[in-house]
Amino acid sequence: MKIFETLLVCAFFLAYILIGVYFNRKALDNRSDFYVASGKVNLPINTLATFAAFASGGSFLGSIGVAYSFSLSYIWSAIVGSVSGFIIASVLVAPYLSSMKLNSLVDFFKERYNNWKVLRIVGGAIVVVAFTLYLVSQYKAAGITAEYLLGWDYVWTLLLVTIIFVFYTSIGGMWAVTMTEAIQAVLMFIFMILLPIFAVINLGGPAKMISKAIEISPNWSALGVPLTTAIGFALVWTFTVSCFPHISMRILASKSSNVAQKTMGYTGLLYGIFCLVGFIGVSAAALNLFPIGTEQALKDPDYAYIAVMEQYFPPVLQGFATAAIIAAVLSTTSGLLLAISVAVSNDIWSSIFPNTKEKTVLRIGKISIFVAGIVSALFALNPPALLVILYSQATAMMTSGFFGPLVLGIWWKKATKQGALANMIVGSGGFIVLYALNSLKVIALPTFAEFLIALPLGLIANIIVSNATFNAASSESQEMIHKMDEVHKNAQSVVG
């Protein structure tokens, strides 16, 4: 076990727990306090927290590994999509969701679609399934990373991570999650940018380092995949950012519509700089130090960041960089736990038992954080094969069903609850069918094609059913149009 690194990581874990305890003192009597910090988070903190919630351990491990061993441009297609996704969320979704003062993304469906229970339950269930798989992958990544970097036992790491994250998330709610994510973001950003600076100094300047990297691996800057795959990869993330429930909760936690909109823009910038500088610098340095196709080549490309870090960072910085990688792996975990909790208590339970007292709903939410943490840790003990693919597909399944009801619900007056349900069934259900047929080799679709088919199919189903069921004269429609008129008036008067 590496003593210094272990102590440092434990110190950060202790800080997260103390933050949870501190924020437990803030009034956590109602759902708005617990799930969205009563919409009082300011721009700098919200930007950092959104960045940390979005940038997972994959940014330090998998993505740089792909850039080193395959192609920088290919992995950047996902980043271009993600950055565009933040901007699309900032103009189409953020100011409007924020001005509605909700507790969750599914709460939007409740407000917009006449409090229809079916829609809330289906929406909540999609979130629980997709995010439990996502959580399993985060736990697995935490276990593997701690095992490799710190020499910790995989099972004990899972246990420790579960206890810490369940504890501070369940007692401190959104405030604790926000403040810990902000700390994690600072750590991640500094150590992703610092390593390329050290590498450039040691390798004789950026031009020399980059030309040598291209000389060693000419594919590094080329795309290396069919254009449809690159565009599909970009579009998956372009549409997904708006539909991520833990990102929506950050929008809802914003102090105002303007802060919500700006949070998305600044997070896009932060993430863009992080991936631009970090991915070029670290993968080019790795190619200089461990050329592909030679004996020095890294056996596991995923550890490119760690290999370069061990070359250039002094021991103290290595300790902090280790803490940064662990922080990146775990920064999404608390947001996911909170998103699952709100789906169970606020969306599913409150729909089935609408007369439940506020404190009981909150208690159920806290219990569901505990249950989700334990269940995911148990799955992570023996994780399913191809987990990354499974959770990526679960996310795409969720986006196929949610994007239409969310965006059409905000921008189209004729969107109805029946149309939204049709969108969820055809979008998410269609995705599952296509994915199953493709996996069973009944059909042969290129990577990401399921999403590119299911998303528009869901939208078309929504438009057809909404057109068929919309009745302009009904009091229900009139009331809804009036409500959305107010939302647009408020949001646009602030954001312009």
Partner: protein, 76 residues
Amino acid sequence: MWYKLPSKAAFLLIWCFATIVVIYGPWGGDPEPGKFSWVAISSGATLILTPLLAIFLSGGSKEKETMIDQDKNQNL
């Protein structure tokens, strides 16, 4: 029956999808040996330019925002 998209938002929306088309258009091609490819240069630039553009265009009115927040708090 559609809400009107503010002009700045419409511009940003078009920009986001247009950049994907421009970056990954058929003119990308393979890079010359030892040089950065068009795909790498344009996608790298987009990572910074797109959010900068959005931040530049997303100026809000602090005064109106405060008024609306006060109204909302009163309604709660």
